[in-house]
Each structure stands twice: as structure tokens, then as C-alpha cells.
Symmetry: C2
Subunit: 340 residues, 2 copies
């Protein structure tokens, strides 16, 4: 379908004025008489004129677009962050291009370059599970600002907006200590991701601070933080002679899997074994007993990430930075640890 899309030129011709006058009238800059302004605005409306954003971008040498790269859009915490990002970018009239890596490192690298080609002004990014090769990131960082959020890395010299993982995990374990638990286990990732490692540190810190001895047999590793892996590991745990009396799972999914198995073997939660998760997912209120968990403010992280990015885009400095903003968490106590 061929459309005759109205341009400034068209309006100018209809009104027998110059293109620059039209531009100035519509953008309200330069000295244009009120009468002319009025006529221009009317004619623009009559023609259904919409400024050609592509031309404007071209002239301004920027797209007012930011790129967002996440491993998995459907991960519930990521979803909350995206909501924060969208709300904030929309407020400042920026566009947001979202991509998924599915934790595929090759794809991550490709998307990073694709973002440059797409002409984004900056990038918000949550790293794939095991991003090891940092050079693609560093290369992009020479041209455009990048802010890492949630799944970050201490090794990349750019601003990071993350949950205070250590403190969150600390609070979770402290809570288990407070309700009188003695043998507190942790389930973490085998190949420590950023989040897993930090949460593990929080676990260790809490034990240390409360003079709990570190018991290696209470540290469990899984390769995937899914419900199924939780269930499977649960089978192993219920068969131990010396069971833990509390389990801190680094994700809600793992915790749900564990609870499912404990339920199956009629182990009473939280009396026999208490369970804590991390994330406050939707399902944490569906599982029976309801799951005690750590609530992270994804919304806040998203919003901060955008603000920070805009700031760096406007700055005249280069984009290397070691700034790290940590957002606090909140312990949500539910049935899985609630004892009178």
C-alpha cells in the first residue's frame, strides 16, 4: 500500500511558508508569530502529520532506544525488573528493545553486537549463567554504556545494579537460626553463578556470626535451580541418617521441589525441617505450606538501571566504572518456617 505520508515540506507548500518555519512553529522554537503558529498547527492536524522519527533520529545521531538483554524473559524476577525498566523508559519517552539469550553464551555475544547495529544508545544487561569471555562486553563498552543488573559480575568494569544478595541470604539464614534451627543446610549451584556465590557468602556469614560450625555435609549442589532438581535432591536428603533441620534454597523453585518431596514423605514442615527460598515467586504462595522467602525489589532495580544508564549516556566521560548499587531485600515469613 503506497501512502502519501505528510512531511514538513508538504505543510510548507500548502501554507506557502518555508520548511524551517514549519519546523520552528511545531517545535515552538525560533521566533514565529502566533498567527503563523496557529495556521501551521492546524494544517499539521488536518494532514494528520506525524513527525518522521527516523529522520529526527538521523539528524540527532541518537535513537532514544535502550537495549535490554536478559537470559530468560519469563523468569519471574526478571519480569518484575522488566516492568520497572519499561515504566521508567516510557516515562522518559525512550524505546526499549528486549532480547533473550536463553543462557546461550554465543547468542549473548551475537545479541550484544546486534544491539550496536540496531543503534541503541545504551544497554541494560543481565548476564548469562556462565559468561566467561568478557571481551565482547568490553568492546561494546568502548562505544556505548552498559549497566549490568541482577546477574552481574565483579569482573566487568561497568556500573552494576543488583540485589543485596549477601545480606538477603544472611537474613534468611539468621531467621532460621532465630527460630531455633541447628543444622541449617544450603542448596546452591554447582558451578557458582553470580547470585549463587553471593548467597552462599551470606549463608557463611550468618553461620559465622552466630558461631555455628560449618558442616560441609550440609552444603548441597545442584546443576539447575528447577523444581525437579529440588525434588530429586529432596529424595536424597530425606534418606540421610543425619538430616538437616532447616534448608536454605537459593531459589524458590528449588525450595518448592524440596517441599514437594518432604510432603511426599510426610515430613512435617517446619517442625522437622524448615525451608526458605529466595525471590518471592508467584508459586511461593501456591505451594503448601506457603514458602518463606526473600523478596527482591525488581521494580526498583529496573528503575535504577534506567536512570543510571541515562546518566552515563549523557556523561562526557568514558563508560568504564566500578560503581555497584545494591538494593535491599525483605524477608517474608510464611508457613514453611513459621513456628509459634
Amino acid at each position: 500500500m503506497k501512502k502519501n505520508i505528510p512531511t514538513l515540506k508538504q505543510i510548507a507548500e500548502n501554507l506557502e511558508l518555508s520548511v524551517s518555519t514549519i519546523s520552528r512553529a511545531l517545535n515552538n522554537n525560533g521566533s514565529i508569530s502566533d498567527l503563523t503558529k496557529k495556521k501551521v498547527i492546524e494544517e499539521a492536524k488536518r494532514l494528520n502529520y506525524v513527525p518522521n522519527i527516523i529522520a529526527k533520529n538521523f539528524r540527532d545521531k541518537r535513537t532514544k532506544t535502550i537495549g535490554v538483554i536478559v537470559p530468560n524473559l519469563m523468569h519471574s524476577f526478571t519480569g518484575t525488573i522488566l516492568k520497572g525498566i519499561l515504566l521508567e523508559t516510557e516515562r522518559i519517552k525512550y524505546k526499549t528493545i528486549i532480547c533473550e539469550t536463553n543462557d546461550n553464551i554465543e547468542k549473548e555475544k551475537e545479541l550484544l553486537n546486534r544491539m550496536l547495529e540496531f543503534g541503541v544508545d545504551g544497554i541494560l544487561m543481565s548476564l548469562s549463567k556462565f559468561t566467561t569471555n568478557l571481551s565482547p562486553l568490553l568492546k561494546v563498552l568502548e562505544k556505548k554504556p552498559i549497566i549490568l543488573f541482577d546477574k552481574a559480575s565483579d569482573k566487568i568494569p561497568c556500573t552494576q545494579i543488583v540485589t543485596n544478595e549477601v545480606k538477603g541470604a544472611f537474613n534468611a539464614v539468621e531467621h532460621l537460626i532465630n527460630i531455633g534451627k541447628k543444622r541449617i543446610a544450603i542448596i546452591k549451584e554447582k558451578q557458582g553463578s553470580f547470585n549463587s556465590e553471593k548467597r552462599f557468602i551470606g549463608y557463611l556469614k550468618a553461620l559465622d556470626q552466630y558461631r555455628y560450625p560449618l558442616d560441609e555435609t550440609l552444603i548441597f549442589d545442584v546443576s539447575n535451580t528447577t523444581i525437579e532438581e529440588g525434588e530429586l535432591l529432596g529424595e536424597y536428603i530425606v534418606n540421610l541418617k543425619e538430616k538437616p533441620d532447616a534448608i536454605f534454597c537459593i531459589t524458590d523453585s528449588l525450595a518448592i521441589g524440596i517441599i514437594k518431596t518432604l510432603n511426599k514423605y510426610n515430613i512435617v514442615i517446619p517442625i522437622e525441617i524448615a525451608v526458605v527460598g529466595f525471590s518471592n515467586s508467584d508459586s511461593s504462595r501456591v505451594i503448601k505450606p506457603n514458602l518463606t522467602t526473600i523478596k527482591q525489589s525488581g521494580y526498583k532495580i529496573g528503575k535504577l538501571a534506567v536512570k543510571q544508564l541515562i546518566e552515563e549516556m549523557r556523561s562526557e566521560k568514558d563508560f568504564f566504572s566500578s560503581k555497584s548499587i545494591e538494593v535491599n531485600t525483605k524477608l517474608i515469613v510464611r508457613e514453611s518456617t513459621f513456628v509459634l
Copy 2:
């Protein structure tokens, strides 16, 4: 930070060739000798040249961008559709701008116009709950193609890609009939949304086909399809003298709420009351008993929507259409209806 971003002109000067030759060499069109091509490519690599996508867009008068408008990014079915959309757009090297309306009609209207300003080539859209004023949509449709998905409307003259809601609901109810249930209730939305209405039709159709009498007292309305509303309505239902022996809920959330309340009153599912949901959400496998539900292929819908949009963008015709593509569902039988 001021950057000296390399352009075709720069390469041309360094190599003492014309800009057009550089363009042709890099894009491999026009007749350029292999030697020249090689030199150009080398120099481009040396300068770290990235084509200026903004200029390219400007010249081509298109952005290779599609806009996606959804009510809520975090709704799990929407998430699956978005994944389908992202995978497909990425494959064809298109960008995707995603926005959320939060079921706010004003915002929906604004975003629609924002999309035009953003210069998208086409729009994929899932309607807000109660979009009544169709004129903003029609206005956009005069300029750019729109494809509606999931939350569609029979009243809008554009292509729609939706779940076969009627058939899905029909299968759900048919399944309840097959397991011997006699008093089959439905929980739907008070102010019928597109999906709610269609699912209700499926319910009616199944009753009709199996000669079940229509019992108005078995039709329940809620104003929100949340877990909480399900729980609340559950309280009402368990107190009825004449209870249903099966409940078809038009969403998984409602079904989960119902199950929670039934569990609370120790009503045995599915013997006393069977429950079916719609969507196959994550939580449907977390609730105990696991929920029987209707699986929709969001991935397929997303992919189809993109394909259809691209087709319409390329077409020379106008963008009005009454095409409707329905994607089939699958009944997933779990504990909440499973009887031997």
C-alpha cells in the same frame, strides 16, 4: 565522551575511492573488483566500522522494528507468546519494542500513538481488558498493519491470531462429562472479556452437545481472575446446599484459588468436586492436587503473529482484514480431575 565514529566517507578517503564504491563493496552489490573489495573490507575492520543503522533506516524509510503492546508482561501465557515473538523477530533480524498497558485504556491509546512516533513498521497487540473505543486502533490501521493476538476482538477489522478458546473450553468441559460429572459449574468474568466470552461459549456448546441441561445457578462470575477471587468464591460455593461436582475455571489462577478453599474445607478433589483451569501456568503443577488445565501454544501464536505481520507489511494492499487464525489447545489431565 566524544567518539570519532567511522563512516563510509572515512573509509573512502583512506582508500582514495568513492563512497559509493565502499558501500557497494561492503554490501556486495554492483560490480567491484575482488581486490578492491578485499581492501575495503580490511579497512572497515581496521577502523571498527559499524554501518550507521539510523542512516540506513532513514534512507530505506523503515525501521525494521515492530511494536508489541500487551496488558501485562508477567502474565505467564503472555510471556510464552513474547518468547515466540522474540525468537521469530530475531531470526529475521527485526527489532522488537515491547510496552505494557497494565489494562489501562488511556495508556493503551497513548502507547499506540507512541508506537507510530517511534516509527515501527507494524504492531502486534493484545488488547486491554475492556477496550471499547476502537477509533485509535482504526486510525493507526490506516497507516501501519496491526495484528491482534490472544486478547483480540471480533469488532476490529484486522488479522487476529488467537487460541481456539471455544474448542479448548469445549474439551475441558467434555473431559469433565467423560469422567462422569453431572453438575458442571463455570467461573467466568463478570464483564465478559474476549477470552472469557469465548470460553463460556465452549462451555455452553459442550453442555448442549451432550444434552446437559443449562443450570443458571452453576454459572459464577468474578470481577478479577485472581487466586484471591477464586478463594473467595470457593467459600461461597462450599456453603451451597446443592454444590457442583465439577468446576471449569476460565483461568488457572481462579482454579488454584478454588482448590485452596476446597482443601481448606477438606473437600476431596476430584471425587467430590473436580477442577479444571485454563493456561497451563507454572503454578498449575505446584498446587496440590496438580491442576488439570488447557495448554495453549503461546510460542506458536507469537511466531505466527510475526510472520503474518511481516506478510502484511510487505503487501501492497491496505491493512484491513478479517482473517482469524486459531491455534489449537491441548487438554492436560492431572490430579484435579483424574479418577480411575
